[in-house]
């Protein structure tokens, strides 16, 4: 069975093509869905790609979370379907309340575009199962607002449940607890600032992104969500 992936495109998204290529390379079928759609095609995985949805006006993700398609994304998530938000997609998921916390401006007030090392803290999630705990993944970041924050109570709960799945080895942006990627408490919604889709072949500098993307494909091959595939 191959996973069918819906890639949501907002006005200002700019990583949908990279996601598409990476996922197809891993054997998925993909379909782009315009943000104004009120429903999603029958899919195993929904991707909110990176970019600057709605120009990032007001706050990153603040307007995008009210795009019509987000209601269908929420339904997909609450019915147990996998959702991954990469970079701007992560910001949108936080604004939508599908993931805890918020992304603030980088502490150094600079847009950062470079390779970073990420440590896998929890490999029992649907998005990290191909990794070993403690494994270091080399994946690029490309953002201005990646400084994740939540309050102490939420952080304590998340740590207890292992929701902080990825940490920066050397935090580039001031994120609380060096957090780079988190999963929701149900384990089916994942958000991360680094771009796994940009690290899928040696030619690009690393193929560690396949660990993340491949893990979720493994998951849906065990637990398919789409009715028809």
């Amino acid at each position: 069975m191959s996973a069918h992936v819906a890639i949501v495109v907002f006005p200002g998204s700019n990583c949908e093509q990279d996601c598409e290529r990476a996922l197809r390379d891993l054997g998925c079928t993909t379909e782009r869905v315009w943000h104004a759609e009120s429903s999603l095609p029958d899919s195993d995985i929904v991707v909110l790609p990176g970019g600057f949805a709605h120009g990032d006006y007001l706050r990153t993700g603040a307007i995008a979370r009210f795009s019509p398609v987000m209601e269908a994304v929420t339904t997909h998530a609450t019915s147990g379907g996998l959702v991954i938000g990469i970079c701007n997609g992560f910001q949108i998921l936080c604004e939508a309340g599908l993931l805890p916390g918020a992304l603030r401006k980088n502490s150094g007030l600079k847009f950062i575009c470079r390779w970073v090392d990420l440590r896998v803290e929890n490999n029992s999630t649907a998005f990290t199962s191909r990794a070993e705990i403690g494994q270091v993944l080399r994946i690029p970041i490309n953002h201005f607002e990646g400084n994740w924050y939540c309050n102490d109570t939420v952080l304590a709960e998340m740590k207890e449940k292992g929701q902080i799945a990825l940490r920066y080895v050397d935090s580039p942006n001031g994120a609380l607890d060096a957090t780079a990627g988190i999963v929701n408490s149900a384990g089916n919604v994942f958000g991360l600032m680094p771009h796994p889709e940009r690290a899928t072949e040696e030619l690009l500098g690393s193929e560690d992104g396949r660990v993340i993307l491949g893990s979720m494909i493994d998951h849906v091959s065990r637990v398919p969500h789409a009715q028809v595939s």
Binding site: L58, A102, R104
Partner: protein
Amino acid sequence: MSYSARVSVMLKQGIADPQGQTIERALPALGYRGVKNVRVGKVIELELQAESPQEAQGLVSEMCERLLANPVIESFEVTIEGEQE
């Protein structure tokens, strides 16, 4: 009635504000001593229709909770500034 509203959105107290900190470090270079607690936020102005200033206040506060501010990191203050026919 038409009302003007002014919303100020600030990072919550206790949340680091790197822009404010940078400005705070720059001011002494211009000769200003003893400046502290510089915080940077944003101001949003809007006009709206409501029956009373109280209703206008309520509506704008609701807009803040739903869209204009992110309650995880930001606090807001609404001032209803005037009324026109």
